[in-house]
């Protein structure tokens, strides 16, 4: 009796979990699969497997849209913003974690209060300031915004890490005559490596995927990032589904690749980042 009941439970649970898995990756899988179909095939039966491997979609997509340029832009912007965020925020986090000075707590509170701000609220003023500073439609403009958007999360992550390092190590370094900057660079940062890596992964994914500021702060194809390029796919590839699906597949590939390669780190970064926030 009991085993019968639990068997039923296991089956129901499995069906439910598999259904949710289908919802999670079914659409993505379908797009990748359809990118190898001709538009005609997709129109006739959206659900069927491709008859043969057809790469026309990819050829057309690469013809119409300079996807590799967008890859490059996204990569440069995401990497630079991650680096900037890492340097600037880790220094501040170290100061807030270790130095006693007037206003330390108030400053920490100020930084953390930015977690309460829905970032889309800041669109217009940032756009106006960026216009004035001639940062509009530049890569640097996006790099600065992205580095700042991840600031509160990185700050808390790094600060917690620095605080977990025993003070004795630094004191020994100071006694040996090392300065604050050298101690920070050669002793603290290597010890906090995994914390810094966690923050960097989060920051990279955030910048790589960001859309709304890219939409507002850039306009030329010169600096366009990958997520923003998607905005134009629907109009560029009307009635050529094969090309659109090929474009989407190429756009989504790097994220999936990073996730598959660094799965454990990405997952734990996301948990850490959310719990700090």
């Amino acid at each position: 009796m009991l085993s019968k009941k639990s068997k039923l439970w296991v089956t129901v649970t499995m069906i439910f979990l598999i259904l949710m898995a289908l919802i999670s990756i079914g659409p993505l899988f379908w797009v990748v699969m359809s990118s190898f179909k001709t538009t005609k095939e997709t129109m006739r039966d959206a659900f069927a497997l491709p008859n043969s491997w057809n790469f026309d979609g990819y050829r057309v997509a690469l013809d119409i849209s300079p996807i590799f340029k967008f890859y490059g832009n996204s990569l440069v912007i995401a990497l630079s913003s991650t680096l900037l965020n890492l340097v600037v925020v880790s220094m501040a986090a170290y100061a807030l974690a270790r130095f006693r000075f007037k206003g330390n707590e108030q400053l920490t509170l100020l930084f953390s209060s930015s977690l309460l701000i829905p970032v889309s609220a800041l669109l217009m003023p940032i756009y106006r300031i960026w216009m004035t500073l001639k940062l509009f439609d530049t890569r640097l403009g996006l790099i600065l915004v992205y580095a700042a958007l991840g600031l509160p999360e990185s700050l808390f992550l790094f600060k917690a890490y620095f605080q977990s390092i025993p003070k004795e190590l630094e004191e020994a370094a100071y006694l040996d005559g090392a300065g604050v900057f050298r101690t920070f660079l050669t002793i603290i940062c290597p010890l906090a490596k995994s914390g810094l890596a966690t923050g960097a992964i989060l920051q990279f994914l955030k910048s790589w995927n960001e859309f709304i500021f890219a939409l507002v702060l850039t306009k030329s194809t010169e600096v366009r990032t990958l997520p923003l390029a998607l905005n134009y796919f629907t109009s560029q590839f009307t009635f050529n589904y094969a090309a659109m699906f090929a474009g989407i597949t190429m756009a989504v590939l790097p994220s999936i690749l990073i996730y598959v390669l660094l799965q454990e780190q990405v997952t734990s970064s996301m948990i850490a980042g959310s719990l700090k926030g």
Binding site: V10, T13, M14, F16, L17, M20, A21, I23, S24, I25, P27, L28, M43, D45, A46, F47, V88, M91, A92, Y94, A95, F99, F101, L107, L110, F111, S114, L116, P118, S120, A121, L122, L123, M124, Y127, L144, A148, L151, V180, F181, L205, W208, F211, I212, V216, L226, L230, T234, I248, V252, S255, I258, Y259, Q263, V266, T267, M270, I271, S274, L275
Partner: protein, 290 residues
């Protein structure tokens, strides 16, 4: 060891500059200019509370945007989090392949939501879309509903697209379930607690703060939702699926009505603060007990 003031300043200044540029100055701008009639072409006049009064009395579009935003925040904070917690609970029982499921559920969270939006536009497309394709297969008759653009399905379709993001809640709640000490569970089992009792009386109360975090994440993500509306329905048909960020975008970037947009930003920030404050109270998040 005493560290000189200028060295402390050297560590802090870059971060303070960046923070001021992107958070502090923009915040000050929206607060001040929300009391101004500020439009393109040099119009800049103090109008007191007029923007606010106009928004809450006359502007039908604003009402729709606020109502939609709040409905979506509420749905997300309740149904979405419950679903994620349920899945996390099932996975925490270490069912067969739980790690594989966890990996799969996370995939939508690592790809750009603009990519996902464009994918979903195609999934729900009237002709050649996945959903209609499946329905046609099952029923045998050609089904051509335009999910995102028919007025009877647009709202619910936009709401449903967020189902795909449950994965983040799942992994956070799962980490919470995993952190419940084995001894407590063993002790409760010896006392004869059933699975249901164990879940509702022991596990859920113990991971309260984690769940609170999930609710905050879910709620605030809906306050800032943009891509999945802008790239799918664009707020339509009519204004059926408009929300605050989308209206804010249209007001500032298309109508160039900056003062009014600032007022909306202030409203959005207030919503954010109230949301987080309420959730903190409901989940008693500052009383740690694990």
């Amino acid at each position: 060891m005493k560290i000189s003031k200028w060295k402390i300043a050297a560590f802090l200044t870059p971060c303070i500059l960046l923070f001021s540029l992107v958070f502090v100055i923009p915040m000050l701008i929206i607060i001040v200019t929300s009391f101004f009639d500020w439009k393109a072409g040099g119009i800049f006049n103090f109008v007191g509370l007029n923007n606010y009064i106009n928004a809450f009395t006359a502007d039908k579009r604003m009402h729709q945007a606020i109502i939609n935003t709040l409905i979506w925040v509420a749905l997300q904070a309740t149904i979405h989090v419950s679903l994620g917690t349920l899945i996390a609970y099932l996975l925490s029982m270490k069912v067969k392949g739980w790690k594989v499921f966890r990996t799969i559920y996370m995939i939508p969270n690592v790809i750009s939501s603009s990519v996902l939006a464009v994918i979903l536009v195609n999934v729900f497309r009237a002709k050649g879309g996945l959903v209609n394709g499946i329905i046609t297969k099952i029923t045998g008759t050609t089904f051509t509903k335009n999910w995102f653009f028919d007025s009877d399905s647009a709202f619910i379709t936009v709401t449903l697209t967020w189902l795909i993001y449950t994965g983040l809640i799942v992994i956070i709640a799962l980490a919470g379930f995993m952190s419940v000490p084995e001894e407590i569970i063993d002790a409760a089992r010896i006392d004869g607690a059933s699975d249901a009792k164990l879940l509702f009386r022991i596990k859920l109360p113990l991971i309260r703060t984690v769940l609170g975090t999930c609710v905050i994440l879910a709620a605030t993500s809906k306050l800032t939702e943009f891509e999945l509306i802008y790239l799918t329905t664009g707020g339509g048909p009519g204004d059926m699926t408009i929300n605050l960020p989308l209206y804010l975008y249209k007001t500032s970037m298309i109508d160039n009505n900056y003062g009014y947009a600032s007022m909306m930003s202030v409203v959005l920030v207030l919503f954010g603060v109230i949301c987080v404050f309420l959730i903190h109270r409901i989940f008693r998040m500052n009383e740690a007990d694990i």
